[in-house]
């Protein structure tokens, strides 16, 4: 009745805003338990929107929406800055008929940052270059793609790969880098995936998948679990290809850890 009188007197501007229907509240903080199981359950939300192809790599961490033994092992042995970081080799396979080498490896780190900051580090990491005889790799951002709701954040990255050895070559590849929030209004689970937009002379497949989630025991710490899967032209140099790119991955692992530890 009071508000009706105010309105009748032309004083509706004195009526509290909530009475105009502005009663919607900001979403509450997520209370979802931070577990690898919930990470895997959240992957179905990414699968529902993504346009990238990374099923093979995702299945290494989550099978039937549950953590794999590999995922659990990686978490339990996550690098925390002491000792020698180790790569877990999932698959090294030569295909002579196509002169290609598949190299699939994994690693994990635990850093003193919340998952949001770790995810934001993905953008900064793109510009980290690598050069160790005979392989050099650098990357830069291109114009961003159209985002039609298939990711939370998307970038296009141009990578230059150069080898100076008995067989020398330069390769330019274009990659989608997309960041995903596994649950709306939740800031504990994220996924970053980098995929090749089209095969090149060097890369027939290139996927880097990183699962990022909060340490259940410490909300200011995070795990970053990475799967890398490359199918590459080995130019009939399988062992050298494996050696050169394994060294690159090892170095990139340490570079990322140092960046995330700042």
């Amino acid at each position: 009745m009071g508000t009706q009188i105010l309105a009748a007197l032309g004083l509706a501007w004195l009526i509290p805003a909530a009475l105009f229907g502005q009663t919607n509240l900001l979403p509450a903080k997520s209370t979802l338990a931070v577990t690898p199981a919930n990470f895997c359950l959240g992957m179905k939300n990414v699968a529902a929107i993504t346009k990238q192809s990374f099923t093979e790599e995702a299945n290494l961490l989550c099978a039937n929406q549950a953590p794999t033994a590999l995922f659990t092992t990686l978490i339990n042995s996550a690098y925390q800055g002491t000792g020698t970081p180790t790569l877990t080799t999932v698959l090294v396979q030569e295909t002579p008929a196509t002169l290609t080498t598949q190299l699939t490896v994994a690693y994990a780190m635990k850093v003193n940052k919340d998952p949001v900051k770790v995810l934001l580090g993905e953008e900064k990491h793109v510009s980290s270059s690598y050069s160790q005889d005979p392989l050099s790799i650098s990357a830069k951002f291109m114009a961003p793609p159209v985002n039609s709701g298939d990711a939370d954040t998307a970038f296009v990255v141009q990578q230059k790969t150069s080898v100076k050895a008995q067989v020398s070559f330069d390769d330019t590849s274009i990659h989608d880098l997309k960041l995903y929030q596994l649950y709306t209004y939740n800031f504990d689970f994220f996924l970053a995936v980098r995929t090749l937009t089209a095969p090149t002379e060097q890369f027939k497949k290139s996927v880097v998948l990183r699962a990022i989630f909060q340490d259940p025991a410490n909300q200011n710490q995070s795990y970053a679990v990475t799967i890398l899967n490359f199918v590459m032209n080995n130019r009939d140099q399988h062992d050298r290809t494996v050696d050169a790119f394994t060294k690159f991955i090892q170095s990139d692992f340490m570079t990322l850890y140092q960046e995330q530890s700042k």
Binding site: G10, A143, P144, N147, A151, Q181, T184
Partner: protein, 295 residues
């Protein structure tokens, strides 16, 4: 003077990429950001006195804005704009923030001054951002701007530095009721946020009002979010655009924007993006007016 002319002003406010007022403020702990108050602002104006020497309805035009503006807008019951009016009015007088915006209005030279009034984020990644900016354009009165259809120039996109925003007009109605002279439905698509492709869309409604009947020298437009319940990234997207006749055949347009952005983990990116785009809006509008305004 057609109604259409007046409505366009409203579109201007929306073009400024948001305004808004306070609905529900988040009350979580503020962990970053700042509130840039008006206390430290400077201008050549005298505190409390109008900076625009134009009268309407036998009152200083700025007094008309502060006396009638909140009432006319509130009576329309579109959203709560009291918070935005509180930034630009102290009682019957305009605030120092408003006067500073007028004094620093973009006139086609240098870079537009987009002032970040508020930028706070809570620990659930809700970010409240408030901007103000103004321009002074060669228009005899603010309603003349309507003929220039300024919102149309944003359909092809606002590009500034490393960000892009597209605003499309989805609907337009004259005399929709509640004293509005025009109502425009807008769709915003932020396609490039400082180099990143984020999915960021919202629909708003833009309503334009005459504060004094049959007087075209002062016009106020409001903008509010149409889909706050379902939009996953915007809680509030309110705007207030003030069109005021100035001296010597020119008019001021002041844009106040408040966005409460939710579920966005990178508020710094949004802040940079919005500052850049708002500057771009001022430049595009001024250029458009200068090229097309009746002489």
């Amino acid at each position: 003077m057609s109604i259409t002319k007046i409505s366009i002003l409203g579109a201007l406010a929306s073009l400024s990429v948001i305004v808004g007022c306070s609905g529900k403020k988040f009350d979580g702990p503020k962990k970053e950001g700042s509130i840039l108050g008006t206390e430290n602002s400077t201008s050549s104006s005298t505190p409390g006195s109008p900076v625009i020497a134009v009268t309407v309805d036998n009152r200083p035009i700025e007094a008309v804005l502060c006396q009638d503006g909140p009432k006319v807008v509130a009576n329309a019951k579109k959203s709560d704009f009291t918070g935005l009016f509180a930034l630009i009015c102290n009682g019957d007088n305009t605030s120092q923030l408003f006067k500073d915006a007028i004094v620093g209005a973009y006139q086609g030279q240098g870079e537009p001054q987009v002032k970040l009034i508020k930028s706070t984020s809570d620990d659930n990644y809700n970010t409240d951002i408030v901007f103000i900016q103004a321009l002074k354009a060669p228009l005899a009165n603010p309603s003349m701007f309507a003929d220039l259809k300024p919102h149309d120039i944003f359909a092809s996109g606002i590009h500034e530095i490393n960000s892009d925003l597209v605003i499309n007009v989805e609907s337009r109605a004259s005399f929709p009721g509640k004293r509005a002279v025009e109502q425009i439905g807008l769709k915003y698509s932020l396609t490039n946020a400082n180099g990143a492709a984020i999915f960021d869309q919202r629909r708003t409604e833009f309503n334009t009002y005459l504060l004094v009947e049959n007087n075209r020298d002062i016009v106020v437009s409001t903008e509010h979010l149409l889909d706050p319940e379902t939009n996953i990234n915007y809680h509030i997207a309110n705007g207030l655009t003030i069109g005021l006749k100035a001296e010597n055949g020119e008019s001021y347009m002041v844009f106040l924007t408040e966005l409460v952005i939710k579920n966005r983990i990178d508020p710094d990116r949004m802040k940079v993006t919005l500052l850049n785009l708002n500057a771009g809006v001022s430049k595009m509008l001024y250029k458009h007016i200068s090229a097309n305004a009746p002489r």
